[in-house]
C-alpha cells in the first residue's frame, strides 16, 4: 500500500493527484474519472490519508497510482475482496474500489454479486469501455454481441452482461451511471455515491478510443439526468426495462443498513497489527 505524504490540508482537486503521470492513450475516458474523483474528494474535503483506493488489473485499475490517497493495486478481479477487507479492518477510511468491465464483471464477477449482497459501506466505480483494452481488444462481458473484431469475427453472439440489473437484484444500496465526457456531473455522482451508506455502485461509460473508436459517438448518445433516484426497487426495476445503457444519473438510492461485523474486532488498532508482524 502506498504511503501518502501530504504535509498540508488538501482542498483543491490537484491535491488529490499524485506526481505519477497516466500512461493511458490520448482520448481515453479514464482521465475523466481521475479528474472527477479528484473533484469529488475535494468537494467532500476528505483528506488523502483518510481515503483508500483499491483496484484490480486493467487500464482503469491503474488509478490508485495516479491519486495521492492510500492505494492498493491488487489482483485481477479481486479488488472488491481487498476493498471489503480494508473497510472492515479500517472502518474509519473512505474506501473506493475502481476497475474496468473485464476485471469487475468477468474475472471478478462473483465478487461483484456478493459485494452488492454484503452491502459494506464503500463505493465501486467501474469504468466500462466494453472491451479488454490492456490486452489488446478482446470482447468483454459488456461488449455488444455483434461487435465485429479480428478476435471475434462477426461478434461473440453472446448477450451483454447488464451491470445495473445485476447490482439492483443483488442488493447494492446505491446505483448510478455517469459518463467520463462530463467529469463535473460525474464528480457530483461520486459525491452522492460516497456519502450514501452501504455499497454504492457507479457504472461509468468510459470510451476506449484505441480499440473502440466508435465510442467517441457516446457523447451524442448519453442523456444527462435521465435516471431519477428512487428508493423503490420495483420502480427502479421497471426503469431498467427501458434503459438502453446511455441514461445517466442515479437509478436507485436504497435504505438498507450497511454491513457491520459482529462481535469484537479482530484488531483493535494499527499498532497491534504492526506488533503481530514483528519478527
Amino acid at each position: 500500500m502506498n504511503q501518502t505524504t501530504t504535509s498540508h490540508q488538501a482542498s483543491a482537486p490537484g491535491d488529490y493527484k499524485s506526481d505519477i503521470k497516466p500512461v493511458w492513450c490520448p482520448g481515453c475516458g479514464d482521465f475523466g474519472v481521475v479528474n472527477a474523483l479528484a473533484k469529488a474528494l475535494a468537494k467532500m474535503s476528505l483528506q488523502p490519508e483518510n481515503v483508500g483506493i483499491v483496484s484490480g488489473i486493467g487500464c482503469s485499475s491503474r488509478i490508485p497510482a495516479y491519486m495521492s490517497c492510500y492505494g492498493f493495486h491488487g489482483v485481477h478481479g479481486r479488488a472488491l475482496a481487498a476493498g471489503t477487507g480494508l473497510k472492515i479492518a479500517r472502518p474509519d477510511l473512505t474506501v473506493i474500489v475502481t476497475g474496468g468491465d473485464g476485471d469487475g464483471y468477468s474475472i471478478g464477477g462473483n465478487h461483484f454479486l456478493h459485494a452488492c449482497r454484503r452491502n459494506v459501506d464503500m463505493t465501486y466505480i467501474v469504468m466500462d469501455n466494453r472491451v479488454y483494452g490492456m490486452t489488446k481488444g478482446q470482447a468483454s462481458p459488456t461488449t455488444e454481441p455483434d461487435w465485429d473484431s479480428k478476435l471475434s469475427p462477426d461478434g461473440t453472439g453472446l448477450r451483454e452482461f447488464l451491470p445495473m440489473v445485476i447490482a439492483l437484484a443483488s442488493g447494492a444500496n446505491f446505483i448510478a451511471r455517469g459518463y467520463t465526457g462530463d467529469p463535473n456531473s460525474l464528480a457530483e455522482l461520486l459525491v452522492q455515491a460516497v456519502r450514501h451508506p452501504g455499497f454504492s455502485f457507479v457504472e461509468v461509460l468510459s470510451p476506449c478510443i484505441t480499440f473502440r473508436p466508435e465510442q467517441l459517438e457516446w457523447k451524442k448518445r448519453v442523456r444527462a439526468g435521465a435516471l431519477k433516484p428512487t428508493a423503490d426497487m420495483t420502480r427502479a426495476t421497471r426503469r431498467l426495462l427501458r434503459d438502453d445503457g446511455f441514461d445517466l444519473g442515479v437509478l436507485y438510492a436504497g435504505s438498507r443498513s450497511p454491513y457491520e461485523p459482529r462481535g469484537p474486532r479482530a484488531t483493535k488498532d494499527v499498532s497491534e497489527l504492526e506488533r503481530r508482524f514483528v519478527l
Binding site: 490520448p26 475516458g29 462530463d182 463535473n184
Partner: protein
Amino acid sequence: MTGRMPRSVDDFMACACAMEAEAAERYAELADLMAAHANRDVAGLFAKLAVIEGKHRDQILEQMRWTTAPSSHTFEWETPEAPETTDPGDLHYLMTPHHALKLAEHNEQRAVEFFERFVRARLPAAVRKAAAEMAEEEREHVRLIQEWLAKVPPPERGWDDDPDPPNVAD
C-alpha cells in the same frame, strides 16, 4: 451556463477565472500525456499553452485583488466542461503542433462566444461591460493563435500512419 447567472462583476469574474484555470489544468494534463507518448513537440506546445492560460487566470486574480480563486459552486457550465477546455476525444497520439494549435484556436473562439452571450444577456451594465472586455481579450487570443498557426506547417499527408499501431490484435 445554467444555474445562477452572474449578477455581479465578482460572480462573473469568478466564472471567467474558473474557465481559465480549467483550461490551464487540461493543457498541463495533455502535455504530460503527450510526453508519455513521446510526442515531444506537441507536449511542449501544450505545456506552453498551459502556462499562457495560467497567466490569464493570474491576471484575473490580480485584477480582482483575489489571493485564491473563488469557489465556482455558484454556476455550472452548459457544456460538459468549461468552454475553453480541450475535449480529450479530439486528441491523437501522432497529432502535430498544427493540430494542437487548431484545437487551441477552437477553444479561444468558444471563449469569445461564451462571453459575448453575457454581453447580449439581460444583466447589470457592469457585468455586460466586464463580459465585453473579456470577449475582446479572447478575440485577441484568437488572433495570436492564428499568427502562431501561420508559422507552423500543416500536417503532411499520412501524418497518422503508424507501422506498428497500438490497436493491432496480436
